[in-house]
């Protein structure tokens, strides 16, 4: 009896491990496959590659359009991240620290774009931007991306502010610190992990955004996700795999930074 139930337990355990392995493989396979394919010597995407080379990385470095798109996307993500932090930080502090009627409603409205399909947002933004001549311009692109990064930022920052230790800001006030000093010396240092996380998230969201960029980048302003999209429409060579591999590594780097920041929070708070 006992032996039978132990065997059964062993079976269940094995099955659980297999299931977890299958799920991980399903989730990670497309990401991991990109790396061998990017070193393929073939002229088109195939598995397994018939030979190995670094020629698609060389091709990428010689592809002016991709390089320009990469530079633009990087700069755009940078601008968007900085602006997101500058706008969302005071907004989050105001929403978290003051109590007024309709505060919760306001938070819901501010974070609502998270729930909308980006194709709806993209279309709506396009309709407004066409009239203002913002399509295909840097200000237009930045504004468009802010629409999606700000709700994320607000959510993360509000959560971060909610986990600050109780009354430390009040305590600083009783010690003679002006509210601005309290923010600079107490609130800001304690919410640094949340700020780092917000920055990383904004950067990734902006850098990877396809739909809204497709709608409002126009033809003049080249962005990496848009250029990639157009590229694979006409060609199927492993160049896109090389670009993807670089993007995966970049994202991984940012996630690691975030993880460090979150770990930092665990040691700072308490």
């Amino acid at each position: 009896m006992i032996r039978g139930s132990m065997m059964l337990q062993g079976l269940i355990r094995t099955f659980q491990l297999l299931a977890i392995a299958a799920i991980l493989a399903f989730l990670l396979a497309p990401v991991l496959l990109v790396f061998p394919i990017s070193f393929s010597a073939d002229a088109y995407v195939s598995w397994p590659p018939s030979g190995w080379s670094t020629k698609w990385y060389v091709a990428l470095l010689e592809n002016d359009e991709m390089l320009e798109a990469f530079r633009n996307s990087f700069l755009l993500a940078l601008y968007v991240t900085v602006l997101t932090l500058l706008i969302a930080t005071p907004a989050a502090v105001a929403l978290a620290r003051s109590t007024f009627v309709g505060r919760d409603t306001l938070i819901s409205i501010f974070t609502a774009p998270l729930l909308l399909p980006s194709i709806v947002l993209g279309l709506a933004i396009l309709i407004i931007f066409v009239g203002q001549g913002l399509v295909g311009t840097w200000p237009g692109m930045i504004l468009g991306h802010l629409v999606i990064t700000l709700p994320y930022a607000l959510r993360v920052l509000l959560t971060g502010l909610g986990t600050l230790p109780m009354f430390v800001e009040d305590a600083a006030g009783t010690l003679g610190a002006h509210p601005l000093t309290v923010f600079r010396r107490i609130t800001l240092p304690l919410m640094t992990p949340a700020l780092v996380a917000t920055g990383a998230l904004s950067f990734i969201v902006s850098f990877d955004e396809v739909v809204i960029s497709l709608f409002i980048a126009g033809t003049q302003l080249k962005l990496l996700p848009v250029s990639l999209y157009h590229y694979v429409e006409s060609r199927t060579d492993p160049l896109v795999a090389a670009v993807s591999a670089i993007m995966v590594l970049g994202t991984l780097l940012i996630v690691l930074i975030m993880e460090r920041a979150m770990g930092l929070r665990r040691t700072v708070a308490k």
């Binding site: 305590a171 006030g173 009783t174 010690l175 003679g176 002006h178 509210p179 304690l190 708070a269």
Partner: protein, 359 residues
């Protein structure tokens, strides 16, 4: 009077006020307790005095100056929080130095005063550590040092002992009192623990539902409580309902007669309260010492509870249950459940309240 709180009121929206018509004052160097059950408005009062919460109406005066409109950072009051509220990203020394830095003292001066403040709370040598590396009791001392180092006009303590374990709590309580007296610091001490308040406060304000119930010395609060709520809150007590008779005695259920030192109006309903440890207990048939001013009642013991330092007897007398407490002795328990006994207590220990005045 150094600190004056005058008709202070706090309202949140259309609800009943959290604090209303609250007035009291403190002499320089006095330690005043704000005592009451949770939700009675004592912490709100403290937060209004420190400026963290704006008063709806009323005034707060420090040394004759109206500070009601001043922001917290200009009030010069040291506050110790229940959760300590130490800055987790700063060292102990940086925490203590913060108030001095805000006052733009020189580096040298700050270092000197931080060191002596840490010495005052017996925490020499931990200045370089982060608060989370200290024990709860040590964090508490850091919070006290931080609140005192800049020589505030008033020290406000918000339930400072409730996060400590029982033994540490008594030590810390006495230490706070000792430091407060040495510095002659005008202090308000918020607590829900009557023992704590009694032990160290010069005077106590008892609050209930946002109002002041009574203000007085610990002795006054305990011996002559102004309301049934105060009598009930500051220690265990027996309650009996009765009616004043024309001869100045109190009739309870028509089966018991009690005398109090202050008679009331004839026929008026009255609430009688007696502390369990002020009631004497002798075997039925024994003589009562100095029986003239004593209330004497025959009863039967229904339950005996031994709790180490005291024995609690639940006695059935004249249709009511009366709790009696006696200090234990090594000789053991003189009365068993079912024993016939006489209860007796003096007229002075008989507290009476107009029954309709009960809140």
């Amino acid at each position: 009077m150094y600190l004056k709180v005058d008709s202070l009121e706090k309202r949140y929206g259309a609800f009943d006020p959290s604090v209303s018509n609250l007035s009291f004052s403190l002499a320089q160097g006095e330690l005043l307790g704000l005592l009451g059950p949770s939700g009675c408005g004592k912490t709100t009062t403290l937060r209004m005095i420190s400026g963290m919460v704006a008063a709806t109406s009323g005034r707060i005066l420090v040394g004759g100056h109206d500070v009601t409109g001043l922001p917290t950072y200009r009030r010069n009051m040291g506050v110790m929080f229940q959760s300590y509220a130490l800055f987790p990203h700063m060292t102990v020394a940086e925490n203590v130095a913060f108030g001095l830095e805000m006052r733009k003292h020189s580096k040298h001066e700050i270092a000197k005063r931080v060191e002596s403040a840490l010495a005052m709370v017996r925490l020499n040598g931990v200045g370089d550590r982060k608060p989370r590396q200290l024990s709860g009791g040590q964090q508490q001392r850091v919070a006290l040092a931080r609140a005192l180092v800049f020589e505030p006009d008033i020290l406000l303590l918000d339930e400072p002992l409730s996060n400590l374990d029982a033994k540490l709590r008594d030590d810390m309580r006495n230490e706070i009192r000792e430091i407060q007296q040495r510095l002659r610091m005008t202090t308000i001490f918020v607590t829900h623990d009557q023992t704590e308040a009694m032990a160290i406060c010069d005077r106590i304000v008892v609050m209930n539902k946002g109002r002041l119930e009574q203000i007085g010395t610990p002795h006054e609060i305990y011996e002559t409580p102004a309301t049934p709520m105060v009598a009930d809150f500051v220690g265990r007590i027996n309650r009996l309902k009765g009616t004043w008779r024309s001869d100045g005695a109190i009739d309870i259920n028509g089966s018991m007669t009690i005398r109090a030192s202050r008679p009331g109006a004839r026929g008026a309903p009255v609430l009688v309260m007696v502390r369990p440890h002020r009631i004497g207990l002798v075997a039925s048939g024994s003589a009562i010492p100095s029986a003239e001013h004593e209330n004497v009642l025959a009863g039967t013991i229904r339950q005996v509870t031994y709790i180490g330092d005291t024995l609690q007897y639940s006695v059935e007398a004249a249709g009511a249950r009366i709790l009696v407490e006696k200090a234990t002795t090594s000789a053991g328990d003189p009365f068993q459940s079912g024993a016939e006994v006489l209860l007796h207590w003096s007229e002075q220990d008989t507290l009476t309240f107009a029954a309709d005045g009960e809140r």
